[in-house]
Symmetry: C3
């Protein structure tokens, strides 16, 4: 049902603390996160192996390296092994909970829900703009009551922008009319699109000090990788100083970072930030950009949630792909292929190699 062998964003870094547990369900599996006294992150399945209680209702011990289930008192170390069970002479060998490989990188906490042996940190998408000193953004999160693939469809589709978001990220009709180039990558798809000598879009024109009547070149490049990580490179530059040549002098640019993480088959965590490279010393600009993005994302959520209600009414409904759907069709095929590949990995309770 879900891709196992990939990195999922589980949280913003500040959500995982040393003085409280974060309990969050990822791909239908409840996880508990916390930091030990060295600020290292530990992630275990949030379900005591004894009788299924939530470990996150317990407490840390040993300087935060262990967690004690406060139902019957079992203690687990960071590898998930049970190291103490009250009134138990011998602790059974299989008394353990699954430890989950976890990495903090550029403001996000990533988890690997599949085979720990395959948890390659190099597969984590680069989101450096979330904490880069020359970029600014705010932390975004939305919860969806729909399957994550419907949201991935939305993110892989530029064609809806002028219709669903006319006042925010929509752009002009000529811009909308240009289809992006779609390429297959190893673990996803890449979309690239540029429109030269066009109007600057209202939502970013107001931040530019371009002379009146300036025409611009616009670009929007997406890298979208499983499970649903979108790294967007978009912006505009005055046409004369064209983007065509790779130069982006005096450009206003954004590096949107968005992550879809299935909570269950019917709900999704959505993490996002929208870093910009201009006016970074003016927090009100960052707030305004964030508010605009959030507004657009709530327009998406309203539409996708009602789409989901329609699909629930008729499970036999078949979508009718159009030309604009090339990217999302390809992406769905990649997801299906990876799920098939995962199924050869028998999920077992095993310790983290982190």
């Amino acid at each position: 049902m879900f891709v196992q062998n990939c990195w999922y964003v589980a949280a913003w870094d500040h959500e995982v603390r040393d003085d409280a547990f974060l309990s969050r369900t990822i791909t239908g599996i409840p996880l508990v996160f916390w930091r030990n006294s060295k600020a290292e992150i530990i992630a275990l399945v949030d379900r005591c192996c004894h009788r299924g209680a939530k470990l996150s209702m317990g407490r840390t011990e040993n300087g935060g390296d262990c967690i004690r289930c406060m139902y019957h008192g079992l203690v687990f170390d960071r590898s998930g092994a049970c190291i103490s069970a009250p009134a138990q002479d011998r602790i059974p060998r299989n008394a353990r909970v699954r430890a989950i490989p976890v990495v903090q990188q550029h403001r996000w906490i990533w988890v690997w829900m599949g085979d720990p042996e395959k948890a390659d940190r190099n597969l984590i998408p680069d989101t450096q703009w979330l904490d880069h000193p020359e970029w600014r953004s705010l932390d975004g999160y939305l919860h969806y009551d729909v399957n994550y693939l419907l949201i991935a469809d939305n993110l892989l589709d530029f064609s809806h922008l002028p219709f669903l978001h006319p006042t925010t990220v929509g752009g002009s009709p000529d811009y909308a009319a240009v289809l992006p180039r779609v390429e297959r990558t190893e673990r996803g798809v890449r979309l690239t699109k540029r429109v030269t000598d066009t109007e600057p879009p209202a939502y970013s024109a107001k931040y530019a000090d371009y002379p009146a009547g300036t025409r611009v070149d616009r670009w929007m490049n997406y890298d979208f990788v499983v499970p649903g990580i979108l790294i967007m490179d978009s912006g505009m530059v005055p046409t004369a100083r064209g983007e065509r040549d790779g130069r982006r002098e005096n450009a206003l640019a954004f590096r949107g970072c968005q992550a879809l993480t299935p909570e269950t088959g019917n709900s999704t965590h959505y993490f996002f930030g929208h870093p910009h490279n201009f006016l970074i010393d003016r927090p009100e600009v960052t707030r305004e950009i964030h508010a605009g993005i959030l507004h657009a994302f709530e327009e998406d959520r309203e539409m996708i949630t009602s789409q989901q209600q329609n699909l629930a009414l008729d499970p036999d409904f078949r979508m009718a792909p159009l030309s604009v759907d090339a990217a999302l069709s390809q992406f769905r095929r990649i997801v299906e292929k990876m799920i098939k590949a995962d199924s050869t990995y028998a999920e077992v309770t095993q310790p983290s190699r982190a």
Copy 2:
């Protein structure tokens, strides 16, 4: 599950407008209704053929003759054909949504959910009293969280009136003791009942200027047709000027119009009006009659909803028909027979012939 080839009431006429969409689910299928600039009503399945979005979140175009999906911009004409799709060279032939035959007649908007070829307007029950100048009523609507057949059972059953509605439409014990005559009609059942030389019921006696002690003849005739349209002709007349002979001199009469429309298998729209032919220049009388009917219908809803909860607890419960249930037993057989007949009609996406 539902009869397809019949007229369902979808709305009161004022609910369908030219400046907003009405989205309403009928027999499990979401529909969108609106009026074009000529006040004609258009009804389509409220689900874009592209990716299932709700058309009712879109906007009208071309003087209201077309609807644009505001997710990806597809435009559909009133026949349901897609006539525009952004960034699409050629519109696929099967890009269409289903158009639903729709008729406005005597204050109600009727839809035909089955084969459009069979949508015969003459099959629409006559509800002329809802907008007849010599009759008065108010517009009623209730929503039920139960399958519509449980409500049809209730409407086909006179025997519950004195028990569930003792203070409103209940009537006296001698009236309740008389069973109606039950006849099979082409698409339903007809119940007729008359009681002569009896007390006038409290709820209508107060509107009559009969001398004290006047005895009356009462009648109550139902026509109940699929899916659940009830046209009731009831009233009373002083015994001397008897109803027996077909004369109804100085009669106080009602022509109740009620319509059950399944929303889903577990919920129902209930439209009703209760026209009366007396004191029609006194709006407070009409309001009082409506309030009394609404009160009784809410008594029904409370009882039927708890009945539904009981049935949900034990799906194996078998009802035990009594003599009073002849009409509803016959009606359920008609419904079953019509559903069977429908199943030979393969439902396909096709344009309205309206």
Copy 3:
């Protein structure tokens, strides 16, 4: 799914009245309770045999010996036989609802959901302390949204006390370290545990007038019988006047009475009282003890409800029994065995022999 042939607690005695119905679902079956004019309790299935309406929406007749369904007017006597049906010449022989054997004893109303022939009053557990003049308690009730077996597990397990209830009934580590003796009884299990020459627990020490530094012997004996009735005998006595010899001079003792009654497969009624034998003329002590117990039971409910949520996420989760789980493992086997034995009893609609 549920044991049929056993006594379930359905209510506290004051909940069943002569001027109102109590409608309560027990093992998935809706029941209606009331008292007739002689204060005798009548319990019927709360579902009219005619069309499934709730009898509890009706009214009593004949001095409270009969109940009339206010949907269509059928009247049932206390044996469940239909004795009147409006406009019905002959009442069908099978027109009846099931009567449920019901007994009031020591403040609780007990029902027998299985074969009435087997409803032996001697099988009702003794809860005399709930209305004994030398003991005091308050009436407790909690509703759980979990299957009753998860709560039975909790009650059969002493090991969770120091972890989940450290500030109330938890007790000291040395007390927790002692495993109870577990014995099989005819319809359940018995746990016995004593710890001699130990600290008095904080929650009862404050009520004792023992000299400072007094050591105590503590005991805790459980009788737990199907479906989930717990009679607890616990307390402490100064070590010198030891409990070992059966003497309990100057003892502070409790006789906890707790009853789990499945409402449905996913919800449970939980009735409890916690009688104490000391300071019985001080109502504030009784209130304080009750509040402490209630606080602990709400800790249990919070933990067990989250456990249930975890189990719902993964129906394949297998619990891993430890040494401390001997009692609950035995009890689950007894329940399974009794359910199997019940299945030879074909449930039919039959009158109470009560």
